[in-house]
Symmetry: C2
Subunit: 358 residues, 2 copies
């Protein structure tokens, strides 16, 4: 029996990828890169390389249970946990840790977002194995995989680590999203990594950390400990889960713990946070246009991010640095520089056409 | 029994309106203006105001017979004439005139394109009645309805008329599409009208004119006179029609005849020749965007011509003077200034994807 477990977080909406990502069909369920698999499916396959299927849990909103089952029919039904309310990462991770601890008190687990892009599955799995090993030898460690920054990005949180020459680094502190100047200082310092929201720890360590730093939330869930992994779990969650604080795991336990470690990841990573980051990640054609699914004829047109249904023929002329997305009954054509306005555009569309469009 | 007949010409392709207008579904069968009726249906209804249904003939390519029947189920099957080859207007008009003459030697007929826009059906019908009356009193007259020019357009042919103060004007000559300078002179002169391809004449007059100016073509069709309007007509046409010269009626009879008259039309007309002319014709929203079918949210976007399927939501930002057309599996986004390149774009698409796309 393997002691390695995985928790895939698949409850987000990804509204900056509207109109592809919608409340009814969020980003992680889409084949964002046109590779024939959804981001969730790619995440599952990556983890399944060293974690057995029965040890992989998917935590998602109750709205998406059917979608998860459809895309991952190999996942045990009881391993799909339906959150009855949208909450930040802390309640969901604590719940998963308690469930796994009840299955196997000697377990270690990785927490992984379902909607990021990782280029090299083998390197990822080597790093993950290193992290699991470290948790074995350091049973109270809270580990993260930190991403080597390639630019002074102000959209990510940073992890500052101790400069000592070890493979796994001791974390000095978590740093909020910085301004540009601070981000530039971080890069110059050299001992800062991006926080990608990937955590590895023994269930013992994380449950202890929650008990210490979040006694109320811990009490809320341990009150129902005998119901977890039973037919009464869902009823318990419906009643109690919405009472949990809406906070992130970083804030809940990582920032206050003294036992936090980071392994600088060797794989290439992209959070696919915006159409622009997808553009950066994708291969470009000879005109520097990034294309998902579409067949494009580009006349005097460069730097565009184009996505449609497969088989759509797109002819553009005189278009530079635009996001062109055709999804179902929505066609959006906006400059790449306006990508941060997409949330507002989505909200306006929902006001105009009804919630279903968002 | 009415002596008034109509011939609606519905065999063209309208390739400058690609990707909406296609070989398999040309412009005249589309609801180009978003009014709930195709251009062909509007043309039929306009003429039907003074011409009985059984006197209206539709001449079209054999490819489109089913489309005509579908859109105009009230038209008698024997009144839909299938041209077995694409030809300019002369053969088609002569054939129609001979068919009608055989039905009713006292007939007069209007020849009307099926793919133009006419704003005021009542004014059109008053002008048409005037023209029919004139043909009654001048049985050898070849009449046209000429459009009062609103700009020195170089895309139309012009009709120069005698300045004498009569309602119906004697035509001095037909003038080919002019250059800009010449077009400006025409407008300054004041006695020039646009040739809209609308003709009215007695069948006797037009058959005589063909016999005089186009003896070979006349012979070709009169050889089969006993077959016209019979079950053997189609077989005759399949065999003989492709032999007819590919020339326009203007060139075949109008330019050489001495009996040509024009009535300056009072209705507003647009040939809907390009996306730009459709843009000019349509009402604009507050941002000066012209929209057919789509529901548009325009952010800093003006002067665009937008057409999609009904129900499509279009969100644009920073777009000025573009043609944005979404039709089936083609999305085209090009500057309005490139509208004359659409034929080339269509040809390139047909080369890339196969003829069906054009």
């Amino acid at each position: 029996m393997s002691n390695k477990y995985a928790v895939i977080m698949a409850g987000g909406v990804g509204s900056r990828f509207w109109p592809v990502s919608k409340q009814s069909f969020p980003k992680q369920f889409h084949d964002m890169l046109g590779l024939g698999k959804s981001l969730l499916q790619m995440t599952y396959e990556r983890l399944h390389a060293q974690i057995p299927a029965q040890n992989i849990l998917i935590l998602t909103n109750e709205l998406y249970v059917d979608l998860v089952q459809e895309q991952l029919p190999q996942v045990l039904k009881e391993n799909i946990v339906a959150e009855p309310a949208m909450r930040n990462t802390a309640p969901c991770i604590l719940l998963a840790a308690l469930k796994i601890q009840k299955m196997n008190p000697a377990a270690s687990m990785i927490v992984a977002p379902s909607d990021h892009y990782i280029a090299d599955d083998d390197l990822f799995n080597e790093d993950l194995a290193t992290a699991f090993d470290f948790c074995n030898t350091h049973p109270q460690a809270l580990m993260t995989l930190g991403i080597q920054p390639t630019a002074p990005n102000t959209g990510y949180g940073y992890i500052e680590y101790d400069k000592e020459e070890t493979a796994v680094k001791k974390v000095v502190q978590f740093r909020e999203k910085p301004n540009l100047e601070t981000a530039q200082e971080f890069l110059a310092e050299g001992n800062f990594l991006w926080n990608a929201g990937i955590f590895i720890w023994s269930v013992d360590a994380v449950v202890n950390a929650f008990a210490k730093a979040q006694p109320n939330m811990t009490q809320l869930f341990t009150n129902g400990l005998n119901l977890l992994n039973t037919s009464q779990e869902q009823e318990f969650l419906e009643r109690e889960y919405p009472k949990a604080d809406n906070i992130s795991v970083d804030y809940a336990i990582m920032e206050s713990s003294k036992e936090v470690y980071v392994l600088p990841a060797r794989f290439s990573w992209n959070d696919l946070g915006t159409w622009g980051s997808l553009f950066d990640k994708l291969d470009k054609n000879e005109d520097d246009n990034a294309i998902v699914n579409s067949s494009v004829t580009a006349i005097n047109s460069n730097g565009n991010m184009i996505r449609t249904a497969a088989g759509k023929k797109v002819i553009i002329q005189g278009m530079e640095d635009y996001i062109i997305v055709d999804q179902d009954d929505v066609l959006m054509i906006i400059p790449k520089t306006a990508e941060q306005e997409i949330k507002d555009i989505r909200n306006a569309a929902m006001k105009k056409y009804g919630k279903e469009i968002g």
